[in-house]
């Protein structure tokens, strides 16, 4: 296998994002935060940039992101 065929997948693997962030937002103070989607990013600052640019359909008053691996399941059916 020559180096050209192996280097491209390696570069891609090196840049693969593995961390998932749940995105929550609300449009009014009287509303609770609700889940609007998720983004993948290993870096928290990039996750914030991605969440803002992907979920920009409304003028949110608040948006937060939570790493999915920090979520603790209490009930699972």
């Amino acid at each position: 296998m020559n180096s050209t065929t192996t280097s491209a997948p390696r570069r891609r693997e090196a840049l693969n994002e593995t961390r998932v962030w749940q995105v929550y937002a609300r449009r009014k103070y009287e509303e609770p935060l609700h889940e609007i989607g998720n983004v993948m990013a290993d870096d928290v600052e990039l996750a914030k940039v991605y969440a803002r640019s992907i979920y920009d359909e409304f003028s949110w008053i608040e948006m937060v992101i939570i790493p999915r691996d920090n979520i603790v399941t209490v009930i699972e059916s």
Binding site: S7, R10, R11, R12, A14, L15, E17, V39, M40, A41, D42, D43, E45, L46, K48, V49, Y50, R52, S53, I54, D56
Partner: protein, 254 residues
């Protein structure tokens, strides 16, 4: 109404360069709206493209108000303009994602350093735009910082490709502020249009970018002066290869 036109060749020249650079950055970014390494990065690239083209579109109309535009009105419209005062680095398509990241991290941050120095400008139209642009650029800076860290920490060919992109853009970006006796930038400083000389702008710029580059051990020709507590250039910039009219690397020089 010719009587109300502003006669300021220095401001006209610098605004032209700012607008051309923003326009060229937007056009180069646009190519990566569907070519970024991940869907999230592609969407962010699309948003940043819109921002950059938006900044250009708020700057070009200012040129119409200048006496210097009267001789050739076609030069103040981006669609008819044939002069290109953007960096030579932006003449061609990016060779890869690392060029996108380098442009955002080095060049766009340099332009933002200028706009930050114009937030209390005596020229009101620039003051208004500068404040808005500086605000919008905060997200771009987060993106730039995040991606420089990500590519540098990936190591190997990914890191070396990033470093190559940064080095290709390095000198030309630092030159954009002009030599310290640059008549245009010094003119803007004297008239209170910006609050810094070219050397001050360069110093402020290095304070912004060097903490990231230094923490990643990316070796650029800069040192930290412990006496002044400032980052300073280790060597002089290649002014003989820089054109003061177009504020870019001279054609034919590498």
């Amino acid at each position: 109404m010719a009587g109300s036109h502003i006669d300021n060749a220095a401001l006209f020249a610098v605004l032209s360069s700012l607008a051309d650079n923003k326009q060229a950055i937007g056009r180069r970014y646009a190519y990566w709206c569907n070519g970024a390494p991940a869907l999230e990065a592609a969407v962010a690239a699309a948003a940043m493209t819109q921002d950059e083209l938006g900044h250009a579109r708020t700057l070009y109309p200012l040129l119409e108000d200048f006496t210097q535009a009267e001789s050739d009105p076609s030069q103040v419209e981006p669609m008819t303009r044939t002069l290109h005062y953007h960096l030579a680095y932006l003449d061609h398509d990016f060779q890869g994602w690392s060029d996108f990241v380098a442009t955002n991290f080095l060049l766009d941050t340099a332009l933002t350093t200028f706009f930050a120095a114009a937030q209390n400008s005596s020229y009101e139209p620039l003051r208004q735009r500068a404040r808005k642009i500086v605000q919008e650029e905060r997200i771009h800076e987060m993106h730039a910082d995040g991606w420089v860290r990500r590519l540098a920490k990936a190591g190997g060919a990914v890191r070396s490709t990033l470093v190559a992109s940064l080095f290709r853009l390095w000198d030309e970006t630092l030159c954009w502020f002009g030599p310290n006796d640059d008549p245009n930038m010094q003119g803007l400083y004297r008239e209170g249009i910006i609050d810094a000389t070219p050397d001050d702008l360069r110093r402020r710029y290095l304070q912004k970018i060097m903490p990231t580059l230094s923490s990643l051990e990316i070796d650029v020709p800069v040192f930290f002066n412990v006496d002044t507590k400032c980052w300073e250039l280790r060597q002089s910039l290649p002014w003989n290869a820089w054109d003061s009219v177009t504020r870019r690397k001279s054609v034919g020089l590498s």
